[in-house]
Structure formats: C-alpha cells, structure tokens
C-alpha cells in the first residue's frame, strides 16, 4: 500500500489494527514490526504489559525494538503527543528516515475518558504528520465499546489487515471536521448533586480560593497545585476570550474534585486547542494545553448555549456509594 517511504517522503501513515484474538494481533503486528526492524527503522511497541510481553517473545532475541509502558495513572493525550513528538524528533535527528510504532490506548481511555482519547486519535493525524511515521493502533473488537469503534473508524485514515493488506479507512474524517463536531459530555454522578460553590464571572483569584476551600479530597499538594493552576488558566481564558456570563462550579468528594467553567461564547477556534500548544501566545491556547497536561481529565463541550471546560482531579468514578443512591 504505502510506497512512498522509499522515496523519502515525510508524512504520517496512521492505521487502525482490529483484532479478536492474540493470534489475530500477532498476524497484523509482527510483519509490521519485523519490516521496520529489517529496514533499520526505530521501532516502538507501546502496549499493556501482557500484550507487550507477547510481542517481545515473538520477536527475535536480537531485535532492537523500543518497549514503552502504557501507564493508566499518568496517561494523558496531550502528554502522549508531547512525548511521542519529542521521541520522534530525536529519531529523526539521529538520521531515521522511517519510524514504526505499534500502540494502544490505555484501558481507562477506552472507557471513562474516551472523549479526549478520541480527540487524540484525530489530532495525531496532524500532530505527527511532520514525521516519517507509520503506526498501528491496536483495538480489541471484543472489548471495545461500539461508540469507541465508531470514533476509531473516523480517526484512522487506514486499516491494517492480517495478510499485510493496508486498506483505506472509508469512514475517515479530516481532523478539523472531526474535532469541530460537538461531542457529548457525560456528567459524572457528582454533577447531579448541588455544587459546593457556584460563582458568576469570578476573578481568577476568587476561583482559585473557591477550589481550595471546597476541596474535600485527599489529593497530594502537587495535584491540588495543578488543579488550582488549571482553574486559574481556564477562568482567565473565559474572562479574556469567552463571553459573559461565566458560570463557575465546584464539586468535591473525598477522592476527587470536579470543576466546570461555562461561558456563552463559541469556545476556541483552533480545533487542536488543548492537545497541541498554540503557536500564538496570546490566543489562550497555551493555558488550555497546560491544563490538558496537568489535570487527570479535561473535557471540552460546546453546544448552542456556549462552551464548557470540565476539569477533574482524582477519579470521579470511585464515587462514594451513597452518591449512587441519591438522585
């Protein structure tokens, strides 16, 4: 399928690899990895430990593939983009003319935080395009939810098949269109309870104090520091670039804090906002990007009422039992 690597053309070949068994996965992945290793291309495997081990055993002992660990706890799309870009820039600086990556989205990304990983899968088509990269994203169709598979189809221009076939992804949507499409933001259970704080048009300092005072969670000083910074950045953006009134709300339980900042404007015009640092310092894009790097989760939502950013520290799915019985 892809013939342009030999001519040295740069550009990203982003394929989804669907599988229903380990054998399936190996049938797609091994020829891809071996091909890279034979061509002397930096070849990276980024899978959950059990599948990573499977691949390691199947490759020749002498293979110099790079194995990285997908870590649920620290997995953030914007951080993944930053570290992959740095890694690939290093490979290219060392003379690589091709790079291969076999990866998968961390398990938590396929369920609770898919919204921002869907944005990731779309944005990388743009964010990695300057590198001579071929990648395969492995999806187990037995365990991946239907709506996730729909997004996978819309964010991968190619589909890798076991016999080495490289098919065109018929349902692929260009990143700016995919990212501009309104995506549902599922409220956390705690968002159905009255917020501990509700402020209209708060100054950043007032919003920061409200978060510190409302916090009931046993988060580390660093996690709280990061959340307070994120809140300040988003409230600043809302004041500078949004449209009043800005509605600010905080919820907290013993292990998480959730903050929503809503304004009646249209939100950022840059479709990659949050996932890539904005080239222009004045756009507010750097604050949103930083927020994506330091919060446990960030959701962006826009509808006819305006634009909402939801920031999360801790895990809102580890809710105390009594919350499930409250409605």
């Amino acid at each position: 399928m892809r013939t342009d690597t030999d001519t040295g053309r740069r550009g990203y070949d982003h394929a989804a690899a669907y599988y229903t068994s380990d054998e399936d996965l190996m049938a797609v992945a091994l020829p891809f990895l071996l091909g890279g290793l034979e061509a002397g291309e930096p070849t990276v495997v980024s899978l959950a430990p059990e599948r990573s081990e499977l691949v390691r055993r199947a490759l020749p002992r002498s293979a110099e593939a790079v194995f990285t660990v997908t870590d649920d706890l620290y997995a953030r799309p914007a951080a993944a983009i930053k570290s992959y870009r740095e890694m690939m820039a290093g490979f290219v600086a060392d003379g690589a003319r091709g790079i291969r990556i076999l990866g998968e989205i961390p398990p938590v990304g396929l369920s609770r935080s898919w919204d921002w990983w869907a944005r990731y899968e779309s944005a990388v088509n743009h964010a990695y395009d300057e590198f001579p990269l071929r990648s395969m994203c492995a999806y187990d169709t037995r365990t991946t939810p239907r709506h996730v598979l729909d997004d996978v189809a819309a964010t991968h221009p190619f589909v890798a098949a076991p016999d080495g076939a490289h098919l065109i992804g018929e349902r692929y949507v260009e990143p700016p269109d995919f990212l501009a499409d309104p995506r549902p933001m599922t409220p956390y259970p705690i968002e159905r309870t009255p917020p501990l704080v509700e402020l209209t048009d708060p100054a950043p300092a007032a919003a920061r104090r409200a978060v510190v005072q409302a916090n009931r969670a046993s988060l580390s000083a660093q996690e709280i520091g990061n959340l307070v910074l994120a809140v300040s950045e988003i409230v600043t953006n809302a004041a500078r670039h949004g449209r009043p009134p800005v509605l600010f709300r905080v919820w907290s339980d013993t292990d998480h804090v959730v903050v929503t900042i809503h304004d009646t404007g249209a939100g950022p015009t840059d479709p990659f906002a949050g996932l890539l640092p904005a080239p222009d310092r004045e756009s507010g894009g750097l604050g949103l990007w930083l927020t994506h790097q330091i919060c446990h989760h960030v959701a962006l939502h826009r509808d006819k009422h305006g634009f909402t950013v939801r920031l999360t520290a801790g895990d809102p799915h580890h809710t105390a039992p009594h919350l499930h019985t409250t409605s």
């Binding site: 300092a205 920061r208 604050g287 330091i294």
Partner: protein, 279 residues
C-alpha cells in the same frame, strides 16, 4: 551586599506604600509612623507637597513630637520647595541623598532615619512614574541594608489605582489591595529579591514592568528570588519571568514551596528559570 533581614524582625528598615484617598489619612498615618520612630531614637523626616511652614501644624506637633523637634530629631521638607513642577527624579542621585541623610542622622547620635513622604507630585507623568518606580526599588535595596525606613504615600484619587500599583508592587508592604504582588529587596539568605503575593491576570502587565524597573542584581549569572511568599503564579507569570531572564542573559533561581512549578516549567520548555524547592 545586603545582610539577611526580614521585615518583621527589623522594623527600622521597613518600607511600605500607602495609597490614600484623602490627605488627612496620610497625615494621620505619618504622625503615628514618625512618632514610633522618635520613640525608637530615630531622626524623622516628613516630606510632602505644600508649604513646609504649615507641616508642623498639619502634623499636630504635640508631646513627643514637639520634644523631638526641639532636639533636631524632626525635619520637614516641601516637595514644592525642593523640586520644580514635573521634575523627573534621578533614581541614583535620590538614593545618594537619602543615604547621606541617614549617615548624618547616625553621626548626630540617632539610631537611624525614618521618612514619611507623600510623593504624589513626583509621579504625575509617565516619565516621572517610571523614574520614581526605579528609585523606589533602589532605595528599597538601600533600606534593606541600612538603618533607614520609609512610608511612601500616593494620592489614589489623583493618580489612579493603576499608577499606585506600579509603585506599591516595588515595596515589601502596601495598603490592602494596592497590588497583587510585591517584588522587593528585603530578602532572606542573600537572595537578590523577595517575591510575595499572586501573579495572574490581575498582575499583567504590572509584573513585567516591575521586573524591568527593579533590574535585580546578578551574581554568578543568577538572579535568586526568594518566592516563599508567592502563593500562585500562572503560566504567563512564568513566561514573563523567563523572558526577563533571557533578555538579561541570566538564570533566575526561584526559591518556592509550590510543589508543581518545576514540572510546569518543564512543560513550558522554559530553560531560564531554575526552581529551588523550599519548604
């Protein structure tokens, strides 16, 4: 080189900024401030616009004040009699004058010099304000190391809160709400400066201007800022500091207890700032 000093333990080196709305507010605070100086054996100096012959009456020279005046402990100076209208101060010359006055006070047997000054007429134009703000930091450096203290007052109604903030932020202390942060020389452990308060939307572009005017001293290619009192800084505050470091070709060392700053700086690809984690 200044000695380690903190504001609280050395009241005779204090340097504060007061934005007032009515002149009587300033006069009342000045009277209290100067009276304390007289009790502590300092020479006191009252500086304000207007007729200096009128100052003693306005201050209400009674008790300790009257007694102090008789033994040469109380001095007054009128800005109108010292400066022409619209005069732009020469920051270094101004500091030299106060250093000389402090030395004279010491030579005359006083424990130091304490000044209460309403400098409103000296900061009316942008050029005056710029020069005077630079002077405020220079004299702050002098006070951090010498037995001089000062209370600087500015008319908020006339100058506006924005102008007063530009001056207040270069003092170790100021009246409530005058400025979101303080960048000053009363720093512990040989730091170039101390920084307290919060740096966010409200302190833009005040923070960049303050850094530029303070022109903090460099030692071994570094500007060490004791930021133990800095409660918050957003990414723009950090980038403004990084820009300043780059312009001056130095590394800024930020002593901070904030646990997340070094990671944030790393994310922002900032190389000109080094975090020194303190408790």
């Amino acid at each position: 080189m200044q000695s380690p000093a903190s504001l609280d333990s050395t009241p005779d080196r204090s340097h504060s900024c007061h934005g007032y709305q009515r002149q009587v507010e300033f006069e009342a605070e000045a009277r209290e401030f100067l009276t304390r100086g007289l009790v502590e054996g300092q020479r006191v100096l009252y500086v304000a616009p207007g007729d200096s012959g009128d100052f003693t009456r306005r201050l209400g020279m009674d008790g300790v004040f009257e007694e102090g005046a008789r033994r040469g402990a109380v001095q007054v100076a009128s800005l109108d009699e010292t400066y022409s209208s619209g005069a732009v101060v020469d920051p270094e010359q101004q500091v030299r004058a106060y250093a000389a006055a402090t030395e004279q006070a010491l030579a005359a047997g006083f424990t130091g010099l304490r000044v209460a000054a309403d400098a409103t007429p000296l900061v009316r134009t942008p050029a005056q304000l710029d020069a005077f703000a630079r002077y405020e930091h220079l004299v702050d450096r002098y006070m951090a190391a010498h037995p001089m203290s000062a209370m600087c007052a500015y008319d908020r109604t006339e100058l506006g809160d924005g102008a007063v903030a530009q001056l207040a932020c270069l003092h170790p202390r100021s009246s409530t709400g005058a400025t979101p942060f303080h960048l000053h020389a009363h720093a512990p452990d040989w730091a170039s400066a101390a920084l307290d308060g919060e740096l966010d939307l409200e302190s833009r572009p005040l923070w960049s201007v303050a850094l530029e005017r303070a022109d903090l001293p460099v030692a071994d290619g570094e500007i060490v800022i004791d930021a133990t009192g800095l409660a918050f800084v957003d990414h723009r505050g950090l980038l403004a500091l990084a820009d300043h470091a780059e312009r001056r070709g130095v590394t800024v060392v930020l002593r901070t207890p904030l646990p997340h700053l070094s990671h944030v700086l790393q994310l922002l690809d900032v190389t000109g700032i080094r975090v020194e984690q303190v408790r």
